[in-house]
Amino acid sequence: MTAIEEINLTVNGERSTHRVPVRMNLVDFLRNELGLTGSHVGCEHGVCGACTVEVNGACVRGCLMLAVQADGLEVTTIEGLTASGRAGALQAAFHRRNSLQCGFCTPGMLASALEYCERGGAADRAAIREHIAGNYCRCTGYQSIVDAIYEVIAAEEAQ
């Protein structure tokens, strides 16, 4: 039950080695072992999206992946997003548009939003809503989040 294994991984560009209980999930590892508390835990059963992080370029639910499964992989959390480029544009748009209230869903929501943009998602409100439909937000009612993502893509398209 408390078997321990060693893992090597790269988190936000930093490589490190850790001994982790095999039952520990990735988000608990990031939060409790690495102190990267920007990723949040809302349900621990893969529904709310608060724990969404990027693993080898794809969005992953940090509560549904074990830390040992991240052995050899590259993880990017909210702390590792660069202030320039699309991530920065999304953060700025979220700020302007007040696309967050309590901010608990925000790191996961940004990860999903970034994934949509990176995949060449269109400035289409319904498609944006569809894409973020796996991220729960209790505070905003989503409209301001859709507005911010739309704005970033529309601005890119206009260039």
């Binding site: 508390t37 909210i78 702390e79 700020h95 209230q101 901010g103 439909a133 905003t140 301001s144």
Partner: protein
């Protein structure tokens, strides 16, 4: 107010502007400080064994094996906790007749709902604490349950607290005018309907969270708190743990949503504080999602029978309601679980001029999780009942939905008005908000469109609701009943040596933008740019004493305290500036961080210079000038028990009669919350509130089996509004500032949740009309709609 040019028209004004929230920047880069982010040296973790039964006697608890597990620091049961904690009772003296037995952190000998905490393990990690919980053996003897609200008062119902004789917790009757005579009039048409509002819950994305540390050397407790009312919690911990109030410090940094859920007293949180005290080290308890569903307070749970008599011209001759509401086995502490029902009695029909009103409320115990105040306490129920009956009445007498409202709404020039239920209203604008609503939604065009579509088999509906919202409560809400809950709030504003100002305020932030509006008001009233205002909230060691943020009171009450304090500081600074500059203070002003000539706006000195002189070179000042550039002001509402807001909402839906699915096509809100301090923040409060209302109306339900088992205690099974199904929501305003304060702000946090279900109910029933059927139960699930349609 100061003369014809209002203080809100000064240059560099921030009040009324959509200033982005300074603290959002931090949350956007993963720099939030939520309770679970706390990592303290020597910190240990709590997990709880919870009752699997709705009602059972605890025969024995065997924690011996768990206690010997490596990593386990302590195992406690109910009596261990009771030795260190006085029980609490969820009653208030002004809720006359309300009864509820003493409650302990962990169950003592009987468990009364599934999920009630029974034993606690503290270990070096949460995972180990949960492992140890699995080793604790609890032997139960099952007792008969009383779960169904409608059967809880039956003669043969199991009695949950034998000492009370039956399951009635509270009863209230309102009887105003001559209801019987009005119903007996021969010119009235009577409509009636039984409504059901099933249980739902808050589902804050951040679960309930506590980290508590205790230092035995100086008997001080520090509690990192994910809640709304730090000073209330300080008083509760003091009273029940027997610690001096001043030795308890509550710190609320970022709070991941609360909506009323986190304002109550939960046994597991109190047990965490007790354990920290016994162990003299930090203890963390973070509820998991299953625990949240089982123990975060649930909301609503009403069965209401309503009757309305209308005259031929549409006049509401009388309204009568009978509300039965289930609150679980205890009344929640310290706000009680009777307020929800009380609000329903106070508010049903409140937008309308109704002379004859009778209401009975019965609040009953049942073997389910506790029910208590959640966002828009009682409002969605009260609004949906009145609006639903009004729609029935309009149909029965052949009047339009809009016409019957216009016939009965309290006129905008009629205030002050006291309602049949005794509520005092002032500065409301029902008629203007309804007109504006009809305008922005294009009401008449939509109706025509729907009529055409109906003939081609597309079933759309429009629902309208006029609503009131209780905001800015006075001490008559809780304090009068003996609760240590402040209705006043305070703010301290001080000038530092660099010319910036620091505000500490007793209202709290859970994402509404409290800290932002505090900065806006202070910057505006004092005269600096907003980035020169630093705000502190949430920490009892650093803020004035006050109530916190709940009942839509932050902006209206806390905001006024900030306004008064910043204005006072401005006076102090101008006084000193006058001395330094050798001129009368009233010839000076503060603008953008400088002392200026009031007429020409020419700069006389910067605040930095003034700060330098006052703090460092006091020798340049006459001896009678005191270096005091700090002001504290407190504010409470005195003239009214509450400051009500009003609004009008409309929903447009499309019903698929074959599947029972409803698509939300549009939602419109016109809200009058008095002076709007930050339009974007207010609009987002309203949108978020509407979506929570949509949740209660269509998706969210705590589904219990007949023996009190919660069947959908996970986010996979309990449906919440997600982005794909939600409509864009159009928000507009009418601004009627309240006369009770200079700021003129009323609350805006709950209107959306309070009003949306009423509009949605009417919209769905409008779509159902073609099928000659209707629905009166929420959530309006596809299954219930198919039943109403006779399909299943």
């Amino acid at each position: 107010m100061t003369g014809p040019l209002s203080i809100f028209d000064r240059p560099n004004a921030y009040i009324g502007k959509s200033v982005p929230r300074p603290d959002a920047a931090r949350l956007l880069v993963g720099r939030g400080q939520f309770v679970d982010d706390q990592q303290l040296p020597r910190m240990v973790h709590a997990a709880f064994v919870r009752s699997p039964h709705a009602h059972a006697r605890i025969v024995s608890i065997d924690g011996a094996q768990a206690a010997t597990m490596q990593g386990v620091v302590a195992v406690y049961d109910g009596s261990d906790m009771a030795d260190h904690c006085e029980p609490w009772v969820g009653t208030l003296t002004h809720m006359q007749g309300l009864r509820s037995p003493p409650q302990y952190p962990l169950a003592l000998d009987v468990v009364r709902w599934q999920g009630e905490p029974v034993a606690m393990v503290v270990a070096t990690s949460r995972a180990l604490a949960e492992d140890a919980c699995g080793l604790i053996d609890v032997d139960y003897e099952l007792l008969p349950e009383a779960c169904n609200v409608e059967a809880a008062l039956d003669r043969d119902a199991a009695v949950i607290h034998p000492e009370f004789g039956n399951n009635l917790a509270w009863e209230r009757i309102v009887d105003s005018g001559d209801v019987d005579a009005a119903f007996a009039r021969n010119d009235v048409t009577i409509v009636e309907r039984t409504f059901r509002f099933n249980r739902h819950t808050g589902v804050t994305l951040e679960p309930r969270s506590s980290v508590v540390d205790f230092n035995p050397a100086d008997e001080t407790m520090t509690y990192w708190y994910a809640g709304q009312a730090p000073h209330m919690m300080q008083a509760i911990l003091s009273k029940h743990l027997g610690l001096a109030e001043e030795n308890i410090r509550l710190i609320a940094n970022d709070v991941g949503g609360s909506f009323g859920i986190k304002i109550h007293t939960y046994g597991d949180d109190i047990a965490t504080a007790v354990a920290a005290r016994i162990l003299a080290r930090p203890v963390k308890f973070i509820a998991d999602r299953n625990e949240s569903f089982l123990t975060d307070i649930h909301a609503r749970d009403h069965r209401i029978h309503g009757r309305m008599a209308v005259a031929r011209d549409g006049e509401i001759a009388a309204l009568e309601i009978d509300d039965l509401t289930g609150i679980g086995p205890y009344s929640m502490y310290p706000r009680t679980s009777a307020i929800e029902c009380n609000q329903v009695l106070n508010l049903t029909g409140a937008p309308y001029a109704i002379q004859n009103y009778r209401a009975r409320g019965q609040v009953v115990f049942q073997n389910k999780n506790l029910m208590s105040q959640y966002r828009a306490v009682g409002h969605p129920v009260a609004m949906a009942v009145a609006e639903g009956l009004l729609e029935d009445a309009a149909l029965a007498i052949g009047l339009g939905s809009v016409d019957i409202r216009k016939r009965n709404l309290i006129r905008d020039d009629a205030y002050p008005v006291t309602s049949a239920a005794g509520m005092k209203f002032d500065d409301l604008s029902h008629c203007r908000t309804l007109d504006k609503l009809l305008d922005i939604m294009g009401h008449d065009v939509l109706r025509e469109e729907h009529a055409k579509l109906r003939s081609s088999g597309i079933h759309r509906g429009i629902g309208i609701a006029s609503i009131v919202e209780v905001t800015n409560p006075s001490p008559l809400f809780y304090g009068v009943g003996g609760a240590s809950i402040a209705a006043q709030d305070g703010a301290t504003v001080r000038l530092d040596a660099a010319g910036a100002i620091h505000v500490s305020a007793s209202i709290t932030e859970q994402g509404q933008g409290t800290n932002t509006i505090i900065a806006q008001i202070a910057a505006d009233m004092f005269g600096v740019e907003i980035d020169r205002v630093k705000v502190t909230t949430g920490d009892t060691a650093h803020v004035p004493y006050g109530g916190g943020t709940w009942a839509s009171r932050g902006a209206g009450i806390g905001g006024e305290a900030v306004l008064q304090a910043a204005t006072a500081l401005r006076g102090q600074v101008l006084e000193v500036a006058g001395t330094i500059l050798q001129c009368a203070p009233d010839r000076l002003d503060i603008l953008s961080g400088s002392i200026v000539d009031v007429k020409t706006a020419a700069q006389r000195m910067t605040l930095r210079e003034l700060g330098r002189i006052v703090y460092f070179r006091g020798n340049e000042l006459p001896p009678d000038v005191k270096p005091e550039l700090i002001a504290t002001r407190h504010y409470r509402v005195t003239d009214f028990p509450f400051v009500f807001t009003n609004g009008a909402m409309a929903a447009e839906v499309e019903l698929d009669p074959e599947t029972g699915f409803v698509k939300l096509l549009g939602f419109w809100v016109v809200e009058d919350c008095g002076r709007v301090i930050n339009p974007q923040l207010v609009d987002e409060q309203i949108r978020g509130g509407v979506v929570q209302g949509i949740g209660g109306a269509f998706y969210e339900e705590c589904i219990y089996s007949s023996n009190g088992q919660l069947l959908n205690a996970s986010m996979a099974d309990y449906l919440v509004p997600m982005a794909a199904e939600m409509p864009d929501i159009v928000v507009a305003h009418v601004e009627t500032p309240t006369k009770t304060s200079v700021l003129g702000a009323k609350g805006a946090g709950e209107a959306g949740t309070g009003g949306a279900p009423a509009a949605l109910l009417n919209a769905v029933n409008d779509a159902l009309r073609a099928f000659d059927t209707s629905i009166s139960e929420m959530p309006m699930t596809p299954e219930r709609l198919l039943k109403a349609l006779g399909v299943v």
